[in-house]
Amino acid sequence: MSAQQRCSRLVTLQREVELIFKHVLVAALLASTAVAPAMAQSDTDITVVLSEELDLVEPCMATRSNIGRVIMQNISETLTELDVRGDTGLMPRLAESWEDKGDGTWQFKLREGVTFSDGSTFDAADVKHSFDRVFSEEMTCESARYFADTELTFNVVDDHTIDVKAEPAQPILPLLMSLVTIVPSETPMEFVRDPIGTGPYVMSDWTAGQQIVLTRRDDYWGEAPAVTSATYLFRSEPAVRAAMVETGEADIAPQITEVEATNPATDFTYPNSETVYLRIDQTVEPMGDLRVRKALNAAIDREAFIGTVLAAGTELATAMVPPTTLGWNPDLEPHPYDPEQAKAWLAEAEADGVNVKAPVEVIARTENFPHVTEVGEALVQMLNEVGFNASLRMVEVAEHEQYYSKPYPEGRPAQLVVAQHDNSRGDPVFSMYFKYHSEGTQSGVNDPKADELIEKATAATDAERAALWSELFAYVHDEIVADALLFHMVGHSRVSERLDFTPTIATNQQLQLAGIGFK
């Protein structure tokens, strides 16, 4: 650290200390004057209350859902955009059109007349720079994971045309483009605190710990949205979030709990693209045996959860991805609840020398989703009723990660990890490799046919791709019974009655202010 830096650090310290005293003073003053809260807000300003504070407001981290909800398509835009709620599929955003030039190369025609909020003009160089940042060694951008084994080469044809070559060829490259936000080419190779984007809003205030304020831009290229300004607040208690909309302190509270969602006028329930399942690790006895896995699935009374511990509207899952995903297989039926059959399968396996009484740990993460503990407790009871020797283990996030992702701990007993997986990206590729490929980080499967199907589907396009995914879904669900798929979850949001806004499956990943109107 240089002397100058040290000096500036001291200045910061001094400033912070002053801030502390200022707060004390202000609090004392305010307490004595006791002015009623005056929310100086115009009618088109809204307040959104989120469950957790943002660590970063960094465009290249926009795929992290809490960051994406603020940034994505509000501050920063992407080349393409997936219509998650409708069936339009992939739509143009900053790219007006794209075409497959063959040989793994895609050409994107960029929109003209677009400016960043700092006044600079959007062009192909910005796109290239945005990707350079994603792959930079100097920072860890989340979006890099979508291009894990793919080498991308960018070729700026002209200001508004760019060729992207993927090695090996990436059939869903345009879809992947919906995940990378575009920043100006001046953006440094480090996490920024003042995101510059082409979106309809600009971040006008970020008071750490308290709020983030987005204000509408006048020079946005598209249609001006109705919301002039949005203030984001952070409250981790769902009851408080719900109460805030009720009392008028906030307009939108995404992620309230089913218990709170009681008012039909303001509370919306919608599938949130999260899938809950029991990850089975087939390498540990007794889970290597197909009959045991079948028994496991038959032991669970999935219907009993819905409308009780889990919200009404929750759907039984037959695949890792929600029905809106490419290749989703409508023919699959959830495993029926049949404890007698389950017992029979277990007896059969036991007769063949499988140790079905081996201890099984059901591992769930606290706060993973609402009522996860109750779900865990109920699952354990159901398993034990058919003869498993199961016990529940609730762990915090870091520990859960240990059990969920490879390398798995040595000498572990059979573990069933309760996990929630989110895929609203439209294509199963973001899920299937990780969960079912023998090399997948969270996979408990080691099946050559599954590997082959995944590899083939990943490289395929269009109808063939959809068909292959469908086949894979059926294979893992019915043939190898790779895991115990449980539910497609629903989310609940509370929206003030003054807003014209219906939350959907997309609300989980992004909250486009442009989609909000006033009544």
């Binding site: 910061t12 310290l13 912070e16 307490a31 208690e237 992702s405």
Partner: protein, 304 residues
């Protein structure tokens, strides 16, 4: 006094170093921050890159050496998650916790001393029992329970107060109110007990023989003598409060050090955890000096 303070400073510095070593190594036993910072399907390369950028790939002892070197130069490192200097994050949170703790403790001290002293004078009477039971019930109810019920009553049903946040003085009322209850319940008991003992002291007899009225006997003669154990407990409670009020902060969306601490611990943001602990430890050290000074002011025998 100066000698006492300098002795204390040295002792505290030792504890601070011990704390630093302990926290540094123990916290690193608790898993990989990379896995928590990055999404579940991040590649191994990305995790390695994250570790490299944040120096987490170095041998532990070298990491420690670097940390201590920077620490000596008042650099507490960058937050692993927020891409900002950890100390800034911590001090920002402190700017909220400090006034909250200060105001709450001030109210607690005044209320508990007055009520505790009067209860002791009225020992066994109705007022004494009322104070004891009310304070005990308050102090033994889980605080998140009280907080949520308070929101339901005061914000939703009565619509008197905002549910949460920090914008206006109104926002501070419920957090302070909920935070007030437990230390109040405890200190009231200590004041009462200490006053009971002090009221039997011989100098109280002297005062009565002098014809001094009851109120001066309680609040002038006895209270000051009874304050020493009370000050100790106040110190403990204030220290706890400087550590942040996790529950209250979490529920009321109060951006204080407690919430920051639990988040940073759960997310393994080591630098923020360390910085927060150091700042808290220093604040507590300063407060202990204040308490020593208070002892001296209250009791001349300690001063001399």
């Amino acid at each position: 006094m100066t000698k006492l303070i300098s002795q204390r400073a040295i002792a505290s510095l030792l504890s601070l170093l011990g704390l630093l070593v302990l926290v540094f190594f123990l916290s690193r036993l608790t898993g990989d921050p990379a896995a928590l910072f990055l999404p579940i399907d991040a590649t191994e390369e990305m995790k390695a890159q994250f570790r490299a950028i944040n120096g987490l790939d170095l041998p532990l002892i070298e990491q420690f050496g670097r940390y201590v070197w920077d620490f000596i130069h008042l650099d507490f490192g960058e937050s692993l998650r927020k891409a900002r200097p950890a100390i800034d994050v911590v001090l920002e949170a402190y700017a909220w916790t400090f006034p909250l703790a200060l105001i709450t403790m001030a109210l607690v001290i005044v209320a508990s001393i007055v009520l505790g002293a009067l209860a002791a004078f009225n020992v066994g009477g109705f007022f004494d029992r009322l104070v004891s039971i009310v304070s005990l019930i308050g102090a033994s109810a889980p605080d998140f329970w009280i907080a949520i019920v308070a929101i339901v009553i005061f914000s939703i049903n009565l619509a008197w107060l905002p549910t949460s946040g920090v914008g206006t003085p109104w926002h501070w009322i419920m957090p302070i109110g909920v935070l007030f209850i437990r230390p109040f319940g405890l200190i009231v008991q200590v004041v009462r007990g200490s006053m009971l003992a002090a009221l039997t002291a011989p100098y109280v007899k002297t005062a009565r023989a002098k014809g001094v009225r009851n109120l001066p006997i309680i609040f002038v003669h006895t209270l000051r003598n009874a304050m020493l154990p009370v000050i100790t407990v106040i110190g403990d409670q204030a220290a706890a409060m400087l550590n942040g009020a996790v529950i209250v902060e979490t529920i009321f969306g109060f951006p204080g050090i407690g919430k920051l601490m639990i988040d940073s611990i759960l997310q393994r943001d080591f630098n923020v955890v360390l910085a927060a602990i150091m700042v808290t430890a220093i604040a507590i050290f300063l407060m202990n000096i204040l308490i020593d000074i208070a002892y001296g002011l209250l009791d001349p025998r300690i001063r001399h």
